[in-house]
């Protein structure tokens, strides 16, 4: 759409800007402020410059959490994206089944995140949980409080359960926007199922998939409540991700300076990745406009 150049549009933005500034800029400046100072109490503080940043970047705890975070985010993306596409292809398109399946598939997304943790805790406990109990009955010594492998597998399974619906719903809406004529043309050409997917459905899906991957990436990068409830970050620190390390440091130990520096590093990483995706989305829209 060709937009009119008009700076009075700022008046429409203004109320939103003030509100978001109150909840974003002021707190962020507080973080920046702390990150360059050593605070003893309300009146005694020293300027430390980049000391906290250097300390944090060399901190093995942060490095470990960061590595685990990337491993986690990439793993769940690798599972959820193909699975989500598959489910979207399987979902019924019309009739009462479509509504029922849609609501059932959406359900995990509407559960508060700590409750998701509780659900999986109840489900996977060795003594009272269906999954934990069954695995033990089958002879596998399943134990998420002792085995890091089990803890990881469970958290990934939980995330797949929780968030695959998002990808599936995005793809479902993408698929529904394909006109029937495309499929008819493919049938006339006797296109195989694979070529229909590859040349008709997948191109339509790229738009929504970029949004989906972006949303999934950033949500997985700030995951907190689910592993916190399920494993508490353990065994050891094998499932402690960035948010949890940060919260422990900021609230638990009250290390204002280092945790502020940690926050900024954390935020900058997310910002960088987001910017890459954002540029991709904007370029896609530009291409769309040219094509239309």
């Amino acid at each position: 759409m060709n937009k009119v150049y008009n700076n009075r549009a700022w008046w429409l933005i203004l109320p939103m800007l003030l509100l978001v500034a109150f909840s974003a800029i002021i707190p962020l400046m507080t973080v920046v402020n702390y990150s360059v100072q050593d605070v003893f109490d309300a009146h005694t503080r020293f300027f430390t410059g980049t000391e906290w940043f250097v300390k944090m970047l060399n901190d093995p705890m942060l490095q470990g959490a960061l590595l685990r975070q990337f491993a986690f985010s990439l793993t769940i993306l690798a599972i959820e994206v193909p699975l989500g596409i598959g489910i979207a292809l399987l979902m019924p398109k019309r009739g009462w089944q479509a509504s029922v399946v849609l609501i059932l598939v959406t359900m995990p997304l509407l559960i508060p995140w700590n409750v998701v943790g509780s659900i999986w805790q109840l489900f996977t406990r060795g003594d009272i949980g269906l999954m934990g109990w069954s695995l033990r009955e089958l002879g596998y010594g399943y134990n998420i409080t002792a085995s890091p492998v089990d803890a990881w597998a469970t958290i990934i399974l939980m995330d797949v359960w929780h968030w695959t619906p998002l990808i599936a719903l995005l793809c479902y809406s993408g698929l529904r926007s394909i006109p029937d004529a495309y499929y008819q043309a493919a049938r006339i050409d006797r296109a195989s199922k694979w070529s229909v997917f590859r040349y008709i459905q997948l191109p339509k899906l790229t738009n929504v998939l970029v949004i989906g991957v972006l949303l999934r990436f950033m949500h997985s990068f700030m995951i907190y409540a689910e592993p916190f409830v399920l494993t508490g970050g353990g065994p050891g620190s094998s499932t402690t991700f960035l948010s949890q390390s940060l919260t422990t440091m900021a609230i638990g130990q009250q290390d204002l300076g280092p945790s502020a520096a940690f926050s900024l590093i954390y935020f900058l990483i997310i910002l960088l990745v987001t910017w890459v995706f954002y540029t991709a989305i904007m370029n896609m829209q530009k291409d769309d406009n040219k094509g239309a």
Binding site: K3, M16, L19, S23, M107, M218, A225, A260
Partner: protein, 297 residues
């Protein structure tokens, strides 16, 4: 294909071949359809099984839960639900959550509507940067803002009020609302605005009388998302409150008592948090898919 009778031998053969093809094509997908249904059912079982387990436990007494694994409640009881619905420390958790979620929805949609309109219709200095900055707030990990929020709201005297949580959730809900609404608004042809202005509508009147009704489904979907993200967020909500506006999420941590965890009540409380989501999703089920694509398909 025409529906008149074929007149040439070639046409007859072609018609027969088509009919044959149709029959074959219909025969093959029958098995494929069953495979599709089987896979879909398998996935739904995967989705529903943990939820079923939660419900199963919420209807069992704690003695039965700990006494051994039972696949369905053998001594069906609603004691946990009764406890939650009669003790004010429990049900106030739900009331508090719903209050701040509704406040957040009203605030967010009110400021996001004009902003989204500006982004979808006008170019202005810094528009692209502003939009990206908004998105960065959507990406901001709540953990980063935890401590500053606590201090900020404590200083301005909003700590432990519903307004504090509603405002804090604006951090990610307003950008989300702007993003979704902008997608829906860009789908409305600009000629409608121009015609309305030529007809002498003032901007506020046009916006309320004509434009908002046109994107009502988009607004409905946006409200659903605002509800959803405010409802599921826990970290900020529980940090910014203590007793006066405590959300259900942090009330649930009370189930850890001296005698271990009260599993039954935990399960019942969890089951009740799913309910509002299902009620809300029912109303937007036809538009939800489009909303997840941020109004962009």
């Amino acid at each position: 294909m025409s529906h008149t009778s074929p007149t040439t031998p070639d046409a007859v053969r072609q018609r027969a071949a088509e009919a044959d093809n149709r029959r074959r094509r219909r025969a093959r997908p029958a098995s494929r359809q069953w495979r599709r249904r089987g896979l879909m059912t398998a996935y739904l079982v995967f989705v529903l099984l943990p939820i079923y387990w939660l419900l199963n436990m919420s209807f069992q007494s704690n003695a039965e839960i700990l006494g051994g694994l039972t696949l369905w409640p053998e001594n069906f009881t609603v004691e946990h639900y009764a406890k939650i619905l009669t003790e004010s420390s429990w049900y106030m958790g739900y009331v508090n959550s719903i209050i701040y979620v509704l406040m957040n929805m009203v605030i967010s949609i009110a400021v996001a509507l004009p902003a989204a309109y500006a982004f979808s219709r006008y170019q202005f200095i810094g528009d692209k940067h502003l939009f990206f900055w908004l998105l960065t707030n959507l990406m901001a990990p709540p953990a980063v803002f935890l401590l500053p929020y606590f201090q900020l709201y404590y200083t301005v005297g909003l700590f432990d009020t519903h307004v504090a949580v509603a405002l804090a959730h604006c951090l990610f809900n307003i950008p989300l609302a702007v993003w979704i609404l902008e997608g829906f608004m860009s789908g409305v042809p600009k000629e409608i605005d121009e015609t309305a202005f030529i007809d002498g509508y003032s901007f506020p009147r046009f916006f309320i009388k004509i434009f908002i009704p046109m994107i009502s489904s988009g607004i409905g979907v946006t409200l659903f998302f605002l509800f959803m993200f405010s409802w599921v967020e826990l970290l900020l909500a529980s940090t910014l409150t203590s007793t006066g506006a405590q959300p259900i999420a942090s009330v649930m941590t009370q189930t850890k008592g001296a005698s271990g965890i009260d599993w039954g009540t935990l399960a019942a409380a969890g089951a009740l948090t799913i309910l509002p989501g299902i009620i809300v999703v029912y109303f937007v089920r036809n538009h939800i898919a489009k909303g997840f694509a941020l109004g962009r398909t």
